[in-house]
Symmetry: C2
């Protein structure tokens, strides 16, 4: 199958660029004590997770229990759920998955830890947890080593297996590489390591220190004491991470068709139902000066006044995906392309 | 099943509010020459389309060929695709669907009309079209009666069945009710009717004049000569349309769980992968002063500094959906609730 035969709108991934990213990241971790546990939430494609594991990843990170379940259904069982859960329904679901996997959960709250202890004892299944630490993103996580130690002690008393700490410095992913970023990442990782130390001071082994993303892996991954990095977007990459200064190649594009045009403008058959503009507008690939103005539900409106008539009705165009997480989430499949050929159609799990 | 037993995040539709909206809209059209052809793109739920048809709708409007195909697969065959298509692949797909339905397509471009004529003759299947008119949204459509007449004449010469005109005044949906809106809608509908007239002057019957949305149905639907209204969002409604001044009841909420909290803030397990913030941030239902600050991929960050401690971990909250089109698109199912009971689980087609 050729790209020209794909019905639009369609999500494409350039296999050369993606494989370059896979190899780059694997190369970085090859000689490091820290290892990669890539985030499955970004692509949710089983065969891509397998490629990441074959390239040296020690397991997968997920954002929801459903994602954990999908991995377990496909035989991938070393999983970190890097988000909090709450409520008996969720904890019971986590216990079910834990019975068949090495699922590790993040905790930052004493009442949830008590609920986990109670339900874990009821069910007779152990639960593994990391204490989540707020590294400045101000989303989830305990705020200091004392709180981390208190929560870990409670978890251990409740019979949970405390495997260590995690912290996601999401606010630092977006900083351009340079001295400020280096310093702030060092501080964030320092806090995380201090929390791990405080937990170990309680006589709890806590071997795991998990942090980092596509924008900070090279800093956190080089810090002694850090054992795992959660980067996910690196594999397909997107315009957002290129703007943040990440060195990976963008591989994701949206294939669209011009369905209406005047001299100075054109309308594409791709809107916000198939490509995310939540964090920034996609831009056209390989057409200088022509600019996507706005996305409606199923239309993309393009200004081509700088090059009147360049987008004729029926023409195929590609747009660089700005935000890969939000865009892949809108699709059921993704076409793996090399040059003009479609080599593979990836199923995006839900 | 009770709401409290639903795993979060989950999309809920309040059946009382939705049925109120269904009845209101049906009541409006009961004694009008104009009829409703509601937009399926908003909910993509077959049983809701059936309810709309039972309440008097004369068919469905869709935004993509895939949506048309879904309807035909479920025996709903009176369909208007209110968007342009282009390219042989799409036209062949439209021909397949047309062989089993009364599909009507929108056209605004001579080269597509010629392609449709050629492929229609090849296949021996007729194609029905409306000439799309630009009513000021500046997206698709021809711009004046002369251009409409030219395109209709070409379409007829190509053997297509010209059923009339359509035009979507999307830019006027968002205006608050009042004299300015009335006047601008009158102008827009006037242009559309003039285009219909110009086509009829060519000896083409062109019975259909289709326009309007949830924000303008009461103006366009009361205009002599207008035969169909495309409103879709009215059924479930959303915060955006309430802000535009529409009189329908919001019925859509996102059920979420508090997964992390401090005194002044809380984190919900719903982010932009399950609720759209493309056009505005959702707000919490029934909790005054507490404000959603931002959506991350799978988290919603809430400021509850005005009422410290009100959102404890494990608590369920509901958020009013701001943009229903973009939000329903993120889900596979929607829970139909009445009071605390789940009465029905709707499948959202893809």
């Amino acid at each position: 199958m050729k790209i020209q035969e794909i019905d639009t709108p369609a999500l494409l991934v350039d296999l050369d660029a993606m494989e370059h990213n896979l190899a780059c990241m694997a190369g970085f971790f090859a000689d490091k004590p820290a290892k990669l546990r890539p985030h499955f939430k970004n692509h949710r494609v089983i065969s891509l997770a397998r490629r990441q594991l074959e390239a040296g990843a020690i397991g997968m990170t997920v954002s929801t229990l459903r994602e954990a379940e999908i991995l377990v259904e496909h035989g991938i069982t070393e999983i970190l759920l890097a988000n909090e859960i709450a409520g008996d329904l969720k904890i019971r679901h986590a216990l079910e998955i834990s019975a068949y996997s090495g699922l590790i959960l993040a905790v930052d709250n004493a009442s949830v830890v008590r609920d986990m202890g109670r339900l874990s004892r009821d069910r007779g299944v152990g639960l593994r947890v990391l204490v989540d630490v707020n590294l400045g993103l101000d989303r989830c996580g305990v705020s200091n080593p004392e709180a981390a130690a208190d929560l870990a002690r409670l978890a251990a008393a409740e019979g949970l297996q405390v495997h260590g700490v995690m912290g996601y410095e999401g606010h630092l992913q977006v900083l351009k590489p340079g001295p400020e970023k280096n310093e702030r990442c060092r501080d964030a990782t320092g806090l995380l390591l201090a929390c791990a130390e405080a937990i170990r001071d309680q006589g709890i082994r806590a071997p795991i220190v998990s942090t980092g993303g596509t924008g900070t892996y090279y800093l956190a991954g080089n810090t002694p004491g850090v054992t795992e990095i959660q980067a996910g977007t690196y594999l397909v990459s997107d315009t957002a991470y290129v703007e943040y200064g990440a060195l990976f190649r963008r591989s994701l594009t949206m294939l669209a068709t011009v369905v209406s045009a005047t001299d100075g403008s054109a309308v594409l058959d791709c809107g916000l139902k198939v490509i995310s503009a939540e964090r920034g507008l996609p831009c056209l690939k390989g057409i200088d000066g022509v600019r996507l103005k706005v996305l409606h539900a199923v239309h993309g409106l393009v200004d081509c006044s700088c090059s009147p008539g360049c987008l004729t009705v029926g023409k195929h165009v590609e747009l660089w995906v700005y935000y890969s997480d939000g865009t892949i989430n809108l699709h059921q499949k993704m076409y793996g392309v090399r040059g003009e050929n479609v080599e593979e159609v990836f199923t995006i799990e839900r």
